[in-house]
């Protein structure tokens, strides 16, 4: 088995004649936490959907654990960008989290306990009996994170998972992701539009560009572990890295093709 959990080679995807991703390649070693940043519309969600097997790319391939994916891989969970639509409104919050655990076996009580535990970890203890539509957007987003965590995937894809939560909860959730990553050795791809966040949580930051979408830069993040919301963010390396990523993202927002033509 390859030491790379994920190998993306020459991945191309077009919606009709609109090419979103073009010949992009990326390698993700097992157990790495990769932050993906890029201007909106550059194909971040499309990339995650290709990896999840929900979209069949028009070209190239995605290899997971040594086998090219064809359909949705087993050991994979997704926190969808459109979290509220991905929760089932007819199930309670707890049942939303517990439903995917059915295929793992175990008794109903065990599944419920696992769901409650995951809900507690995202700060939603006591909300299990409510329905998703009784919760605020930020709380719904945390339910969808809890659902993915309870599933214990070996590869976790998160698409702008903290977009709707308040600043304090956001920091708590970032630390939760770091803890899960460290404790369970999960490989995580986290799409974010928050540059500080990408540096704070990532082992590596991948900057995507637009028109055509592809990898513009990859920056390894070497910050002292364990990371801490106050000291890490004040670290000189953090500050210089975030500046670098910021410049790259701004550059990536300008389409390269246009630049070449001028």
């Amino acid at each position: 088995m390859s030491e790379n959990m994920l190998e993306i080679d020459g991945l191309t995807h077009s919606y009709g004649d609109h090419t979103v991703l073009e010949k992009m390649s990326l390698r993700v070693p097992r157990g790495e936490l990769v932050s993906i940043v890029g201007p909106s519309g550059c194909g971040k969600s499309t990339l995650l959907r290709c990896i999840a097997g929900l979209v069949r790319p028009t070209g190239g391939r995605v290899v997971l654990d040594g086998t090219a994916i064809d359909g949705v891989p087993d050991e994979l969970a997704v926190v969808f960008q459109d979290y509220s639509r991905s929760l089932l409104p007819w199930l309670t919050v707890r049942d939303n989290v517990a439903l995917p655990l059915r295929r793992r076996g175990g008794s109903r009580a065990e599944r419920r306990a696992a769901a409650e535990e995951a809900l507690t970890s995202v700060g939603l203890d006591g909300a299990g009996r409510k329905y998703p539509w009784q919760l605020s957007g930020g709380m719904q987003q945390r339910v969808s994170i809890a659902r993915a965590l309870a599933y214990r995937p070996s590869l976790l894809l998160m698409d702008e998972p903290f977009g709707s939560v308040d600043a304090q909860t956001r920091e708590d959730l970032e630390d939760l992701v770091l803890r899960v990553h460290r404790d369970e050795g999960m490989t995580i791809l986290l799409v974010t539009h928050d540059i500080d966040e990408s540096v704070y949580v990532g082992d590596r930051v991948v900057v995507l560009g637009r028109d055509p979408g592809g990898v513009r830069a990859e920056l390894p993040v070497h910050l002292p572990a364990p990371r801490d919301q106050t000291t890490t963010r004040a670290h000189p390396d953090f500050v210089s890295l975030r500046t670098e990523v910021s410049t790259l993202v701004r550059g990536a927002a300008a389409p390269t093709k246009t630049v070449v033509h001028e």
């Binding site: 969808f80 639509r85 199930l91 700060g123 329905y131 539509w133 009784q134 599933y151």
Partner: protein
């Protein structure tokens, strides 16, 4: 994790909820009064006209009570005749409607989830749906014996369509992201059907069942008018032939009341079952 959360669930403010409740109560009172006024008007007009074919409600109601609701308290005041008339009618009604519901939902799921099958049978469905069910009675009479089988078959054939077509539509319009979520989290097969597809289609299925229930009552009566010899419809026909006009009207009034009652019970069940649907929509 400690949560110093500033998020709040989006609850309707109490003032607005209070006003909504008040408006609901007012319109309820208005509905009752309109009904009372109509009955009074009916009484006055029929007395003024004084036509034996149009007895006043004050003549119909006693006939209604004497026929069906003057039995012993132990039998819920139902008379012998009530049991003889209601029993077959209700049995046919709920058997027919229930069968139509099961067939409609099962068929709708199959047709709705299979593109090929849907493509194949849809024109046939629309043709069959367009056949007015009572016209089938002569055919069904030839095929099945007069009686329960024919009556239930008429009801099933007549009311299966709204359920079937709504189920097809419902299982086809499941939110794409919900299906993708199911795929990602390995929710497949029967579990996916039970927990994702059917609940998502439920509002449409319920709408179909509700329409069907109304049709079923109509078809129940029609099938009984064709010489069934028993049931509420047969009673109306026999009373008319025996020139017992208040008794005939009693049957008509009873059917109206039953229709309302069934609709009400159904609406209550539907509201409970689909609470998530109304609320999710309100909060959007």
């Amino acid at each position: 994790m400690s949560t110093a959360t500033v998020e709040r669930p989006p609850a309707a403010e109490p003032a607005r909820r209070g006003r909504r409740r008040l408006l609901g109560a007012l319109s309820g009172i208005a509905q009752v009064w309109l009904l009372v006024l109509l009955v009074i008007a009916w009484e006055l007009v029929t007395r003024a006209v004084d036509d034996e074919f149009f007895p006043p409600p004050s003549a119909i109601l006693p006939a209604l009570r004497d026929m069906w609701f003057s039995g012993p308290a132990g039998d819920l005041f139902l008379t012998e005749k009530a049991r003889a008339d209601f029993g077959p009618s209700f049995r046919n009604l709920f058997l027919g409607w229930g069968l139509a519901g099961v067939i409609g939902v099962a068929g709708g799921v199959l047709i709705g989830r299979s593109r090929a099958l849907g493509h194949l049978v849809e024109p046939v469905l629309h043709f069959l749906r367009s056949v007015p069910p009572p016209t089938l009675i002569p055919f069904l009479l030839a095929l099945l014996d007069l009686g329960t089988q024919m009556q239930v078959a008429t009801i099933v054939f007549g009311v299966v369509w709204p359920v079937l077509l709504n189920t097809i539509d419902g299982v086809r319009s499941v939110d794409r992201l919900q299906l993708e979520t199911a795929r990602v989290f390995g929710i497949t097969g029967w579990l996916r059907m039970r927990r994702v597809i059917l609940p998502s289609a439920a509002p449409k299925i319920f709408a179909g069942l509700r329409v069907s229930l109304g049709f079923a009552l109509i078809l129940m009566v029609i099938s009984e008018l064709v010489g069934a010899g028993q049931g509420i419809g047969a009673h109306i026909l026999l009373a008319q032939q025996a020139f017992e006009i208040p008794q005939m009207w009693g049957g008509i009034v009873l059917l109206g009341v039953l229709g309302c009652l069934f609709n009400l019970v159904f609406a209550l069940v539907e509201r409970r079952a689909l609470a998530w649907h109304d609320n999710a929509r309100r909060n959007d």
